[in-house]
């Protein structure tokens, strides 16, 4: 069952991206079947949200770590990419400074802060998009799991983490653009970001990376490692008396998941054209958890589908009734929790034998 849904999801994601690319690049703008470029980028954005959802499901669904701060890792990956894109602007900024981004000239910076060095190099920037979230998750997770912080307390400190980063990134003296963030990007890898072909390339790259992550996490949770992880999720103390160190298992998936989210953020920024501290907002992390709950916690493919469906809904809803979206999202979460504890995938598999890997309704003591 879950293998089928994984395969279907892979085909849907890849098929949709290729189809949109063909319909965008291969048809005239006034043709009946032409896919507008905004649709390409919008879909690409949904796929990066799906990457974030997948990373949340890995830690929440399989390790029982309800992270309410995962959007922070996504945003950190996004900032790393944003810094590269800023350096790519070069002398084409408003102030025409070849080295300093516009906001630095405006704030009277004389030289590039040390942590901006290297970001003119695409490889270095992409490396940072995984290293920075990974290292922060490593330090945070090491402290939390070693002291056996779990459950609600862990959720609260993940929320505190993203809130602290939100406040830090708002500050102008962080040297990362303050509350305006980073924007006005021109090129990526020397290719114009506004070009249709670049947009399609980013969409397909997002699709491929999402699919690779889905396959990787699928391998992980069905491996012996994954079985230990599920055992840790439900009966942590028992695993300890068998000689396992749950903190090592949790730390491994937490760091991996932060890296996955960071990659998602790095793909998100060139497609939306901006990254600002708002991405660290605690509500973003909570939304990601809702996508997973809607799709089906502990199903991986469900997280992907949940993220896409909720965000398609959000796009239509915010166009029609923008002020009601948060209420609609809250109502959706309550409905899913009460009526559909297995999410959409749980609904699809209802009546079949319960899958062995889906989380128990209540955690064992």
């Amino acid at each position: 069952m879950s293998r089928t849904t994984t395969t279907v999801t892979l085909f849907l994601v890849l098929g949709l991206s290729v189809l949109l690319t063909v319909l965008n690049l291969g048809t005239a703008p006034d043709a009946a079947f032409h896919a507008p470029t905004y649709a390409v980028s919008l879909t690409g954005k949904y796929l990066t949200f799906a990457i974030l959802a997948l990373s949340v499901d890995l830690v929440w669904g399989f390790a029982g770590i309800l992270s309410l701060g995962h959007a922070a890792f996504f945003a950190l990956g996004g900032y790393a990419m944003g810094m590269y894109l800023m350096r790519q602007i070069g002398p084409r900024g408003v102030y025409g400074n070849a080295i300093l981004p516009d906001f630095m000239v405006f704030l009277n910076y004389k030289a590039l802060p040390w942590y901006w060095l290297g970001f003119d190099n695409a490889i270095y920037a992409m490396l940072m998009a995984v290293v920075v979230p990974g290292v922060i998750a490593l330090v945070f997770g090491w402290l939390a799991f070693r002291s056996r912080v779990s459950g609600v307390y862990l959720s609260i400190i993940t929320q505190a983490l993203t809130y602290a980063l939100l406040l830090a990134f708002f500050r102008n003296d962080m040297g990362l653009g303050g509350n305006n963030g980073l924007t006005d990007f021109k090129d990526m890898f020397g290719l114009p970001l506004q070009a249709d072909a670049t947009r399609c390339g980013l969409l397909v790259a997002s699709a491929v990376i999402l699919c690779l992550q889905l396959l990787m996490t699928r391998y992980l949770v069905t491996s012996r490692f994954g079985k230990v992880l599920i055992a840790v999720r439900d009966t942590e103390s028992r695993t300890r008396f068998l000689g396992y160190r749950p903190e090592h298992y949790k730390l491994f998936v937490f760091v991996l998941s932060a890296i996955m989210a960071g990659i998602g953020g790095a793909l998100y920024v060139p497609q939306v054209g901006i990254i600002n501290p708002g991405e660290f907002s605690p509500a973003n992390s909570i939304e990601a958890v809702i996508w997973v709950a809607v799709g089906g916690r502990g199903t991986l493919a469900g997280a992907v589908l949940g993220a896409i469906l909720v965000n398609v809904g959000k796009t239509f809803f915010t166009a029609a009734l923008p002020e009601l979206w948060l209420f609609a999202l809250g109502a959706l979460f309550i409905l899913v929790t009460l009526l559909l504890p297995g999410g959409i995938l749980g609904l699809l598999s209802r009546g079949r034998k319960a899958k062995p890997i889906t989380p128990a309704p209540e955690p064992a003591e």
């Binding site: 992980l220 491996s223 012996r224 490692f225 079985k227 230990v228 599920i230 055992a231 439900d234 009966t235 103390s237 028992r238 695993t239 300890r240 008396f241 068998l242 000689g243 396992y244 160190r245 090592h248 298992y249 491994f252 319960a354 062995p356 890997i357 889906t358 989380p359 128990a360 064992a364």
Partner: protein, 251 residues
């Protein structure tokens, strides 16, 4: 205090005390067990039997006293995984198995071996592992249940699966907390038989307050009461001991 320790001791508790908010769950408890021995520990509810197991397995750190495993390993300095790795396995009072996993996978995860993520990430089931699991399934009489979700087993079957998980761990010392609670007479009889079989190669501590079951085991008995040792000897000896009679009948 000078106390000459006998040669082949596997477990030695020396003046162990544990308090919870001023309440002494274990009170200067000392006992030693020989290698290869099976020991029954009995005592009324709240006597400190489970707490004693918590101390041995590293879940609870004693306020005072030492717990020595084998020649000279002080268990009070180690945590649960380290103690498990030394060869001490534990079955809980309330059966604790990995409910979402199959019976087979429960045993697979319990098999002695490398516990580190870098191993389990790439581990493939070997023929040797499969043979070992099949062997244990036969011993615990769950071969026909091997593909069932552990959470769907009956209470008695879960108790056996947990004993099987202990066996898979290949510990030198097994701590078994109330293995026959909630079992039928026939199951209780089979469990006694199973424990005797296990004791052929391993040292075992069985906690139980079912006197009939302890009698069926036919091993040396330690009686705990209010965190201390009240009496020790054969089942006939301790059940004739007036202090024991008072504790059991005077309640």
């Amino acid at each position: 205090m000078t106390f000459t320790k006998p040669q082949d001791t596997i477990l030695y508790l020396d003046g162990v005390s544990v308090s919870f908010d001023g309440f002494r769950a274990l009170n200067d408890l000392s006992l030693y067990m020989e290698k290869g021995e099976m020991r029954a520990v009995i005592g009324p509810n709240g006597a400190g039997k489970t707490t004693m197991m918590d101390v041995i397995t590293g879940k609870t750190r004693p306020d005072t006293g030492r717990v020595v495993f084998g020649k000279d390993i002080d268990l009070t300095q180690l945590d649960e995984p380290a103690i498990a790795a030394l060869g001490i396995g534990r079955k809980f009072q309330k059966p604790t198995v990995f409910e979402p996993h199959t019976v087979w996978d429960n045993l697979l995860l319990s098999l002695a071996g490398d516990r580190r993520p870098r191993f389990t990430l790439w581990a493939r089931q070997t023929g040797e592992e499969q043979d070992r699991i099949a062997e244990i399934l036969t011993t615990i009489r769950l071969m026909d249940q091997k593909d069932r979700r552990a959470g769907d087993l009956s209470h008695g079957q879960k108790q056996w699966l947990e004993i099987g998980m202990l066996l898979a761990q290949e510990p030198e010392l097994l701590l078994v907390d109330e293995p026959v609670a909630g079992m039928t007479d026939a199951e209780t009889e089979q469990t006694a038989e199973l424990l005797r079989e296990i004791n052929r190669t391993k040292s075992v501590v069985v906690v139980e307050h079912d006197m009939e079951f302890v009698r069926a085991l036919g091993v040396k008995v330690t009686v705990l009461h209010e965190g201390s040792m009240l009496s020790e000897g054969s089942i006939d000896y301790v059940s004739a001991d007036p202090r024991v009679v008072e504790v059991y009948l005077g309640r």
